[in-house]
Subunit: 334 residues, 2 copies
């Protein structure tokens, strides 16, 4: 089997570390792992397949000889090194949002549009976390009848803001117990025992950048250029796994049992929908896994072609690291 030389851009962050873990777990054929980060994190050791590897400071020459670069950096860093990566001949699978809407860059969820990955010109983008989880959940519905519109409200975990998110939640809980002042750095306001209806920056329309990703990225991934998505993104005091309350309106009426069966048989999905036994997806039960859990599937009350559901998935894994490595795996099979 072909072996790959893999670099991790942003190896010290939450997603970068998870990528290294997932590469190992999934036995990705790695002949060399090259963890890269800024000067601040260079020199740290990471463990991979029993070896200790030192994080190197990134520079323009870091990608020589590399086959695949897994990007777990902010947009700025992705933009700074994109040309050097492409020039080196590596494929850049980038988790930042810098190139997602670039018409020359495929945006891929391997369960949905794997064929798009092969049209790359050196860069493949990994979609937004809530978008990946929601689209995997509704993909089976879209195959039964094209989705025309979705209304979504998210319940996003603190780890979606990076490694500092859960640390801030924990330290706020402790400060409140001790009667000490709560420190706010990562989120806009105290997140402990609160919910915050802002993720990303506000646009003129009143929607946030995060909220528009589900429509914009969803159109590209599902090849539905007319798709309309009204999304509200909310941060909740959960450590890991995003949840989304979704209503999808399709072209044709779909029978609920048909939808449940399709979701149960869909790649990457697990149907957890047994109200009589109080079984439905929850963040606590879906963390540290690569599957999107789907439940509470029911006929929309407003639109006879609507399906309402609830889905949960680990956004650090399926919503980021695992999805990127699943994209890389498409090239093993090739």
């Amino acid at each position: 089997m072909k072996q790959f030389k893999v670099a991790i851009l942003g190896a010290s962050g939450a997603v970068g570390r998870e990528m290294i873990k997932v590469l190992q777990e999934r036995n990705f054929p790695v002949s060399e792992l090259r963890p890269l980060a800024s000067a601040r994190s260079a020199g740290q050791k990471i463990s991979f397949n029993g070896q200790e590897i030192t994080i190197q400071e990134i520079n323009e020459n870091s990608f020589e000889g590399i086959d695949i670069v897994l990007g777990a950096s902010p947009n700025k860093v992705a933009k700074q090194y994109k040309d050097a990566i492409v020039k080196s001949g590596a494929v850049f699978i980038d988790n930042s949002s810098a190139y997602r809407m670039d018409p020359n860059v495929p945006l891929v969820v391997p369960e949905i549009n794997p064929e798009d990955a092969f049209k790359h010109q050196g860069v493949i983008s990994n979609p937004n976390c809530s978008t990946i989880i929601t689209l995997v959940a509704v993909n089976a519905i879209n195959k039964l009848s094209p989705i025309q519109a979705m209304v979504a409200s998210t319940y996003q975990a603190t780890s979606g803001a990076g490694a500092n998110g859960p640390i801030e939640l924990a330290s706020q809980v402790k400060a409140l117990e001790a009667g000490e002042p709560v420190e706010v750095k990562t989120f806009q306001y105290q997140i402990a025992y609160n919910v915050i209806p802002q993720i990303g920056d506000f646009l003129e329309t009143g929607f946030t950048t995060e909220e528009m990703k589900m429509q914009n990225e969803g159109r590209k991934i599902m090849h539905l250029p007319e798709l309309k998505v009204n999304c509200t993104c909310v941060r909740v005091p959960v450590v890991r796994s995003h949840s989304i309350s979704v209503t999808a309106v399709t072209k044709d009426h779909l029978d609920i049992e048909t939808v449940k069966n399709a979701i149960a048989n869909e790649k990457g999905c697990r149907l957890v929908d047994d109200p009589a036994n109080r079984r439905y997806p929850m963040p606590l039960e879906t963390s540290d896994q690569d599957i999107v859990f789907v439940g509470r599937i029911r006929q929309d009350i407003i639109n006879e072609n609507g399906i309402t559901l609830w889905c949960c998935g680990d956004q650090v894994r399926k919503g980021a690291a695992t999805n990127a490595i699943q994209i890389a795996e498409l090239f093993i099979e090739e």
Copy 2:
């Protein structure tokens, strides 16, 4: 001014205690306060306007001479004593759901349908907490153009499950910190660092009893018999104040600035909608108050007659105790 003899049915619970607090705060003209509860709580002392009053065990004769009974008991207790209350000549303002859909019982939010209260035959029902908060938020919209449909996803605080809700959340947080097993009694699953997409019991349709209240009670309160509401109710690890993500579709197209102005001028509402300064409603900032906070108002992406918004309100106060006392206040003015 006329003085009223007021009994509290279920005086030892979270809502009952809050009713006593709100009566005092709002200087409700009380000539006698009679706190009633089951044998288990009888004998406890409560404080009211500087007096110490002993909770009495409820029986069929507890309502003699009483003008207003504020009900803060489960449905079973409301049903058990309803006839005795009505027979005594008192008005029963009941926070349980036992009589809400009874055609002979007005269901009242004083900001919306105060006139209905005067049609009572001895019983007036106080609506569901999430329903009250959502309807106060959208009432101004409904006055501009009738609402035809709403999609809502809730973020409901633990205190909505009674006084034990926040106690369970706090004890689970402490158990997790100590590495001890988490005890689950009040909620279906661990609520600390989790969200639970079930409030109430499941119906055949897959919706819960709690979820259907927004449509069924909303129709009655807003006098909109055709209103359709698709609601998903979710418990979140917040102590107090429910939040709701809502899209309301009206008969006519409404301009966003007109909607914002109407909400800013609506009784019982406060507009908190300044994205540039990161101002929007949040549970932490809306607790222990009687106002519904409304923000994130924007044009729906899917339906040109849709308005999307986010609202928060203290469900123990405006969602329960305060609304009941505001109903009672209608009779002072009378």
